[in-house]
Symmetry: D3
Subunit: 218 residues, 6 copies
């Protein structure tokens, strides 16, 4: 199958793209679609505000338009799902957002999902999006670790905060499944899940799985 | 009071800005704030798709940043409320969106609001936004007249379709208050209201009223 | 413009009317409508129960009927919005309730509103009303300061409790905008907002702003 | 058992009280509580507006206060549930509203309830109340027969309209259980149910059943 | 009246059936229907998991089919309402579930209900059911005492935990009415209510009251 | 990879299993998991009532227990998702329901989903489930074609009714994505989608895609 899934990291931090790329390995199957992860170099180092998120929509759609001939499906690998609906107008290929896909996936793994976010403003942005999707009845909470995208490489510090935040979501807010609220958190998934004994959904994987389904089932 | 309310029409159709400007006259009071209506010339002729809406966020925020010193408050005069939350990060002045303001105003005038939109894709976009705001319990429906922004100057045709669409919202969907789903429809408000005998909310007026309140009450 | 906005304090505490009247000053503009604040002397000293709220509906509507010729719009200045829908049947002039207007205004200033109420029974009453309006998705919480309407003049005590209550709404319940849950709290607005660094909505101002919009825009 | 259930018809139409009284017969059991139906002579001939509904709250509470010593429980037999929460503050005895009880009962008999109302304004009033109760997910619709309370004795006309209205609720709105939206419709229940082959809930019966439960189970 | 209400305890613990039977005494009236409580001996000792709940549906429906000629109405006396909708297909007699009935009854006694459950998995199961019924706007919370059905006879331990759990529901979650989340808790109702000064709904009583209404009112 | 996805058709109609098996072909990839489709011979010919759905839970869970050692994941291929939560208690492997998965998948392909069901009782059953999942804000409607499971092989008749039903969901109810409400409808997917020009979600494919994701991503 010649078609491929193009996973676009809309921030310019290549360490983030590398982390995403590693997380894709289990989904690379002989006989399955290629999964290509790219960095959108025009993006900000991290998407941390609504303005960051909105400002990358035009270049993101331009990029997709340029790759339209060699793509089978696109995944927007930023947990704000920037430009998801604009992108769906731009191309006839399936476009999946990692937040939307993660929420959908989490709802099959628990009664109430909790989101581990990077910074406080993300929490409000996600709140608006959860209402937009229409699934607030299933949301337990959303809490920030207080570290930005470029700080996500500070392994010990990040892991500690993620576990602490996940514990609050589980014990105080009643979450029984967690979602990583940033594509750059992929590497911490197993450790957070092991530490807290509840499933943790990695959003880019969720979206690529759905993209694969769309590609194969037409 | 030196401060002014800057009403930004983010499409490049000056006829649309003129219509908005006329609708502002009743809100211009001797001792009240100035109300200045401007056209964002970088915008598309009309905001008719999600991509149109998203693509004007960056220039809109840039424009606000440039006017930050002489503005008291900003109003984004497009019913998609493009960049509303990005704009609120950009400036410390109050920023009102005309859709948000119109929904809030309509809920004080009836049990269920109906929206008269321009084109079919607007209906889905508005649907996402109504859920995002969290007020779908008060929405009766949203129907398109099937004419784009630049066609809004065809008086007779537009008025006929608006009345017909408003009647369907009232009689089939149960709306008891209507909202004009495009800033460019302002001139038709009174005639639609008279023809259907229910209140019709003009969104830019709603937003400027709220902006005035924010300016005066601090 | 000869028409005026009549703001009716339906409790008999004139100190409360005076506080409301002061809060109206910024909205009195040359060229704008008169804003007249009146005390409904038949009312109880404070509206603290559902029975208090319901018992003033008949005299309130009678009063409006008597003033129908010289009014442009009415504002019911009690946070229970007593008789709002009965009043709208009674007169053809716009009638605004301060709770409804405050909720609508707050939703343009934050993601989740918190209400500072006087006494515990108000919290349940407001809860019913928030569901009736259909906006519970935007409510963070409602907490009482434990002081009745006539005690609202005890400046230091009231201010301390309001700040403490507002802090709980902000930090424990997640409110990012507060609403004063009693017309008699108007004088404390700026100090609460300054102490907590989040916007605080004064409900009578919200309603008068909306009334002004209705008067001017027809 | 000496205690009795006092069913108060808050309109002054004794034919309405008689119809209610007849509907109570099946619930009068040898060892069960007395069921006394009374007419509140101060009430309007029918409760047809929000103002009608609100204006009877004070006399209704006064009446309950006067009967507090010989009552076991009170039922407010008007489908607007006027003064339900004020009454619950007024007496320590259980107070049931017939609309609230009917909605609760209907939800155990079908997936979606439809309400047969008297006049158009009732529909909006009921809509606010369904949201206040928080059960709009279970509401199929509410439609008026276009006849007022005093016209409910015109047997053939009323029955025809009720069946026609119920059919629209069933076939167009998807109701699988109907509720009579006025205490004065009690006599038509069986005929409407037979004609449409779906259950029809008589609200005063629903409330008296619940009152009986409260009385016996303490 | 020859018809009777058959209350089926679908677990095999006869002590549980006895407790239910005692709770029925106040509802046994001369002239009223018989109330017969039976143990479904094929059931598990207690319904503590979704599998327990689902596994008793077939025998429960078989049992009802066998008793169809001598029953007037059936009550399924397990707070998971196992097989409620299957049972309603099986027999033409009214079938009431105790959870559904308890929720409906509680909503007439307070603004927000809290549920005292046996074990943690019940909480998730109930959460799904509250959403299914469509009443989550009225739910304050659901908390487990951490004791299984067969342990419910350990009076002191159970009572302490119930009061402690009810207090958390009241003070931390905002419940103003409690529901016993297991038929086997009936004997503790009055003591929990007295200790916490808020109403406590016993679910089998709620269902039998509704069954009685259905039997008498046809 | 030795692990396989076991897709269980819980009805005894092998034609239905064959249709499912064919629909799985695009998801069979060289390096991906095996997908085995089995018929649960103890099941009824079709799951058409709540009782049918509930009665297969015990044998379904027994079957899974027996296959626990050679399974990687299970899919319950009946649109009622019978026993989904009981199954998740029964095995530690991922268990996906086809309705849940289809709803989640559809929400990434349109604003409002419509379900094409077999018979009228399914519509009510699905309605309860949509509320249980908490996604009714995204549901446009659910309509039955009026043919049972064993009639699904009557190609022309079934296809005509599916297209007619899908058209009503699209044009009257506002659906912009359709879901096949029965596993046995898989063969009609492309023809319905082509005829109506909107995406149609085949539920067993949706579930197997999600199962594949769970298997690969751990």
């Amino acid at each position: 199958m010649a078609e491929s899934i193009i996973v676009i990291n809309p921030n310019s931090t290549t360490a983030c793209t590398d982390a995403i790329d590693n997380a894709m390995d289990p989904l690379r199957m002989t006989g399955g679609p290629d999964i290509e992860c790219v960095t959108m170099t025009e993006g900000p180092p991290g998407v941390e505000s609504q303005h960051d998120s909105d400002s990358i929509i035009v270049p993101l759609c331009d990029y997709m338009r340029g790759r339209d001939n060699d793509a089978g499906a696109f995944v927007i690998a930023c947990f704000s799902d920037p430009g998801l609906h604009a992108a769906r107008e731009t191309t006839d290929h399936p476009v999946l957002g990692i937040a939307e896909s993660a929420y959908m996936t989490a709802m099959t793994q628990g009664e109430k999902f909790g989101v581990i976010s990077i910074l406080e403003p993300s929490v409000k942005r996600h709140g608006r999006y959860v209402r937009q999707i229409g699934i607030e009845a299933r949301s337990a909470g959303d809490r920030a670790i207080g570290l930005g995208v470029v700080e996500l490489s500070q392994e010990d510090k990040v892991l500690d905060r993620m576990i602490e935040t996940g514990r609050a979501l589980r014990d105080e807010d009643g979450a029984d499944v967690l979602i990583l609220g940033c594509a750059g958190m992929a590497r911490y998934r197993d450790r957070v899940s092991d530490a807290l004994s509840i499933p943790v959904v990695e959003p880019t994987q969720s979206a690529v799985v759905m993209a694969l389904g769309r590609l194969r089932c037409g």
